[in-house]
């Protein structure tokens, strides 16, 4: 394994694109000036299931400025494998809000007004959008996202659970949740002959180009995807969504560049979300809190046209030692929008259940919840027997307890009062896989000694641009201002998406390898750079493929203090502390932002976020940010993230495990556990809204 790259400048770095962003110079997808652009606005289905009988675009086409109306009657044929991208290819309607037509017009306002005039006649069929634990449509998926086994089992979990002196057997529920990145999904598309170029709000230009090419029957080289700045994604921009296909299809139809931006309301139907879950957790333990059985059974939902089986119980497979264990996933296909990745898919909802159940076990055993987790720390990955490349959950728990002031905690629930407020504290563990994916990078230097590093990475607000610059400068051994970093363009060397907490680990590996190779060339020439400059490339696929067969995860410990108003049930979180072990932290300022951002989203999940499904219509009716609450500034009190020094020897030269998701995992359980400590009321279905604490 190659040596860790030194990044001496990283500790002093702040966000390199910060000034551009706060002064408005940074351009997001929709903001690029494009000559003669026109606008596309989609029409959404108003039924949850059925067929389009007839369409009538007459009134829309009569509106001055309308250039085209695309419907299943006239849309060009596509070669999309993904039904979500097969726009207007079928007359079947699979969920309310599905895109069924679109208007192209000379202004955004005209397109939007005309979209209201497109008449669609439906043959409506009865729909089913309600997930229940005994749904007759329950089935076992072949695998869960992305390719984990659906079920696992070891020992005799039922027998061990039945025989356990201490048992917890509870149902937990998490609601639908929407990613809601600040920047909506947006695309500008234009064609030069059979070459397509798009400015797109995407987490992965390389993958987007490949997928878009497939939809239009093109070679990947015929599609260029540019994503200079992206305003968040949280998984919702991991792969192209219908806005990209619509913009490209419309641009071809009218022969002009087309801009398409989704409204917040539209995003609730067509860009993916976290599906609701129903989870049963059974924990059996001896009187000392040592687990003898862990069973985690999950029921999830997906749409009728595409399976997304969230891997909700997967984290339970490696968190705690127990000889007898089982995890299962079952799904129901409902007439609902298709779910997809949302920050820490699987771990986030699953660890709410597991870590709530661990707290219930701590109460049942009369053992401190920090100590209970330490007692069940496994020596190797429990199901596989693989060694961990590095695992420091215990250190996070111990150091977090010390920093937070956990030591003298009185475990009695509902025992502390400050005026109208009941107060309490809670803890939960966090985890997320640490992985890297094959990427390539190119670095060149000119005769003046200026370096250009190129990789189709993308900065979706994480600070990737800053971290990669630190890594490149460190690997080259030059000041950061001698390096220009080029990212956000599929014409650059192909790279992993900004997703799965794998961006930095994957990209910094490729960047380091390329920079080291170039540095070697320069060294071989005794530092002399020829007039034509030098360059070097890297490709990390082989090295990643040769990684030892070890279990690799980040871990963390989340501590929360809450106050609950005894009159109203209102919950406030004056204090949150997360302590993480995530390999090496490359740029501390960026990392802190990622951690506390994840924790804030976890707080938001705990207290606010809920995509309600309306059984009457089959949609998520609270489809705006006035009615779908996310945490506001006033909801976040003293929030702090710390990390322990962790040597991760295997995962590339940066030694970084990835920090995009571990911050959100466990936060909701820590808060729910603190609410129990404050009130004596155990909330097992999120969010923890005031009415649940009132009755």
């Amino acid at each position: 394994m190659n040596a860790t790259v030194d990044t001496p400048q990283a500790g002093r770095m702040t966000r390199v694109d910060g000034p551009d962003k706060v002064t408005g110079r940074a351009r997001y997808a929709f903001e690029h000036p494009v000559d003669a652009a026109v606008y596309a606005w989609p029409v959404q289905s108003t039924i949850a299931k059925g067929e389009i009988r007839d369409t009538d675009a007459g009134a829309a086409l009569a509106l001055p400025g309308v250039l085209a109306v695309l419907t299943p009657d006239n849309a060009p044929r596509l070669t999309a494998d993904d039904p979500e991208l097969a726009l207007f290819q079928t007359r079947a309607v699979a969920y309310r809000g599905q895109l069924v037509a679109a208007v192209v017009a000379t202004t955004l306002e005209t397109a939007r007004a005309a979209a209201d005039l497109v008449r669609i006649d439906y043959a409506e069929a009865p729909h089913d959008v309600t997930l229940t634990p005994d749904h007759r449509g329950l089935y076992k998926p072949d695998k869960v996202n992305p390719n984990f086994p659906t079920d696992t089992e070891a020992g005799d979990p039922d027998g061990a659970f039945a025989a356990a002196p201490v048992r917890v057997d509870k149902m937990y529920r998490t609601p639908g949740e929407h990613n809601n990145p600040m920047e909506p999904h947006a695309t500008i598309a234009w064609w030069d002959g059979d070459r397509l170029t798009v400015f797109d709000a995407t987490q992965g230009p390389s993958r987007a180009a490949t997928i878009i090419a497939g939809v239009f029957g093109l070679q990947p080289g015929q599609v260029r995807v540019i994503a200079e700045h992206v305003g968040g994604g949280f998984g919702a921009k991991g792969t192209p969504r219908p806005n990209v296909i619509l913009a490209a299809m419309a641009a071809r139809a009218v022969g002009r560049p087309v801009k398409c931006v989704l409204s917040r309301q539209q995003m609730f139907a067509v860009v993916g979300h976290r599906a609701p879950s129903i989870q049963r957790v059974r924990l059996g333990a001896d009187e000392n809190g040592r687990l003898t059985a862990i069973v985690h059974d999950v029921i999830g939902q997906t749409s009728t046209i595409k399976e997304f089986a969230e891997q909700t119980a997967v984290a339970t497979r490696h968190m705690y030692a127990a000889p007898n264990r089982r995890t299962t996933h079952r799904m129901v296909r409902l007439d609902v929008p298709t779910p997809a990745w949302m920050r820490a898919p699987g771990e986030c909802p699953g660890m709410f259940a597991l870590e709530s159940a661990m707290d219930e076990l701590a109460v049942a055993c009369g053992i401190d919840p920090v100590e209970l987790r330490i007692r069940n720390e496994p020596a190797v990955e429990p199901e596989s027997g693989k060694p961990f490349s590095s695992r420091n959950l215990v250190a996070c728990l111990r150091e977090g307890a010390a920093w937070f002031g956990w030591t003298d905690r009185d475990p009695s629930p509902g025992a502390r009062r400050d005026g109208p407020w009941l107060t309490g504290t809670g803890v939960a563990a966090s985890t997320y896989p640490a992985r890297a994916m094959a990427s390539q990078a190119l670095v060149s230097v000119d005769a003046t000694g200026h370096y250009v590093v190129s990789i189709a990475a993308v900065d979706i607000g994480t600070g990737a641009r800053t971290a990669l610059l630190a890594v490149a400068a460190g690997a080259l051994g030059v000041p950061a201002d001698h390096v220009t970093l080029r990212i956000g363009d599929s014409e650059l060397p192909p790279a992993m998406i900004a997703g799965g907490s794998m961006g930095n680990a994957s990209w910094s590996w490729a960047v380091t390898d390329a920079c080291r190779a170039l540095r070697e060339q320069i060294r071989a020439r005794d530092g002399a750079i020829p007039a034509g400059g030098l360059s070097a490339q890297s490709s990390t696929g082989d090295a990643i493929g040769a990684l030892p067969d070890h279990a690799r995860y980040s871990f963390g410990a989340q501590f929360a203090e809450v106050r609950v108003d005894a009159d109203t049930g209102e919950v406030r979180v004056p204090r949150l502390l997360g302590v993480f072990a995530a390999g090496r932290i490359v740029v501390p300022v960026m990392a802190r932002s990622q951690f506390i951002g994840g924790m804030t989203m976890g707080l938001s999940m705990a207290l606010h976020e809920e995509s309600m499904i309306d059984p009457q219509f089959g949609d998520y009716p609270n489809h705006d940010l006035a009615s779908y609450h996310i945490a506001a500034n006033a909801d976040v009190g003293d929030i702090d993230a710390r990390w322990i020094d962790e040597d991760e020897p295997e995962l590339g030269p940066a030694g970084a495990k990835g920090i995009g998701e571990v911050g959100i995992v466990g936060t909701a359980a820590a808060i729910a556990n603190a609410v129990y400590h404050a009130t004596g009321i155990r909330i097992r279905d999120l969010p923890i809204r005031l009415d649940k604490l009132l009755l």
Binding site: E109, T568, P621, A634, R689, L694, L695
Partner: protein, 329 residues
């Protein structure tokens, strides 16, 4: 959004005449609600008559004492007015509990009074709503109604009025000054609003062209000891789940006078007159206050999803009045 015309009238009389005479004309204040509804297609006015440049932006002493507040006064300015803060703290608190700083800087007093319900079905033109499309039905009764009415609703509509400011004004017994096609008139705030009954599309007693020009706060000495408590699902920037505006006058431990209004529980800012009556002359104790809340809530008709508001209102009324009673000793 449909195309529309825009005008800036020279004076109130001209504004009134234009709107009264023009089909599809509406007044435009801060636009914080109307423009949103236009984007959603809920409103499609043909003409916006912008009244924010009219001389209705002053706060001045009323001839009979009290304060006369121009309808164009921005919410932020009203909340910051020293007289309001000192003499009617319930109003300043209510204003600051509403929306965000940016919205309060735009929103006007007149517009705040006339803002529309946040009922999800009202805001979605692809769904039925008796308020938006009379006779089309009300999906809220069987759908999402967590934040809808427990008092004053009808079989056809259980929408709630979303204003915080109006709840404080209801408690203070504010008077609304209106300029109509036939000249100016004044009416009690309670007379401005209509309960839905069978006509939920008719929310006020205003006629077309009627322009709210000012709101008058009558002199109310004990309003110096008043408070607004807003319960909401997040700490800021959320509409109320329940709110309470109250002013309390205690003498010798007994309730000499009291004002109580409730928000987010009814189609109108809800003056709790039964509750007020139940307190007069009684000891200023939590027991009295809870009894008053329960008297007011006797008429409550909650649904499955908002039954929690009954104990919530009771708790908050008791807490707010108890706090005021403590501060008057």
């Amino acid at each position: 959004m449909q195309p529309f015309q825009y005008q800036q009238p020279a004076d109130a009389a001209g504004a009134v005449a234009t709107v009264a005479a023009t089909d599809g004309a509406v007044f435009l204040g801060g636009g914080t609600n109307l423009v949103d509804l236009m984007k959603l297609g809920v409103e499609a006015p043909g003409l916006l008559v912008d009244v924010t440049r009219l001389p209705m932006d002053r706060i001045e002493p009323a001839p009979d004492g009290g304060l006369l507040i121009g309808a164009g006064v921005r919410n932020s300015d009203l909340a910051a007015d020293p007289r309001v803060r000192a003499e009617y703290p319930v109003l300043a608190q209510a204003l600051l509990a509403g929306a965000s700083g940016q919205l309060r800087n735009m929103a006007t007093v007149g517009g705040n009074l006339l803002q529309r319900t946040r009922c999800l079905y009202f805001q979605d033109v692809t769904k039925p709503c008796n308020k938006r499309r009379p006779g089309s039905g009300c999906p809220a009764r069987t759908g999402d109604h967590r934040n809808l009415a427990i008092l004053g609703g009808s079989g056809s509509c259980i929408a709630t009025h979303p204003s915080d400011m109006a709840v404080a004004l209801a408690a203070l017994g504010a008077v609304v000054h209106v300029q109509g096609a036939d000249g100016p008139r004044a009416l009690d705030l309670a007379e401005l609003y209509r309960l839905p009954g069978d006509e939920p599309d008719r929310e006020t007693t205003l006629s077309r062209g009627d322009l709210i020009t000012a709101v008058e706060l009558p002199p109310l000495g004990f309003a110096r000891r008043s408070a607004y408590r807003k319960v909401r699902d997040r700490a800021s920037y959320a509409f109320a789940v329940t709110s309470v505006a109250a002013a309390l006058d205690v003498e010798d431990g007994l309730v000499r006078d009291v004002r109580l209004a409730l928000g987010a529980v009814a189609p109108v800012p809800w003056r709790a007159r039964r509750g007020e009556q139940a307190m007069l002359g009684r000891p200023a104790t939590a027991e009295t206050f809870r009894g008053a809340a329960d008297a007011e809530l006797a008429a409550a008709a909650p649904l499955r999803g908002n039954v929690f508001k009954v104990p919530l209102v009771s708790n908050v009324v008791t807490a707010v009045l108890s706090q005021l009673a403590g501060s008057t000793r």
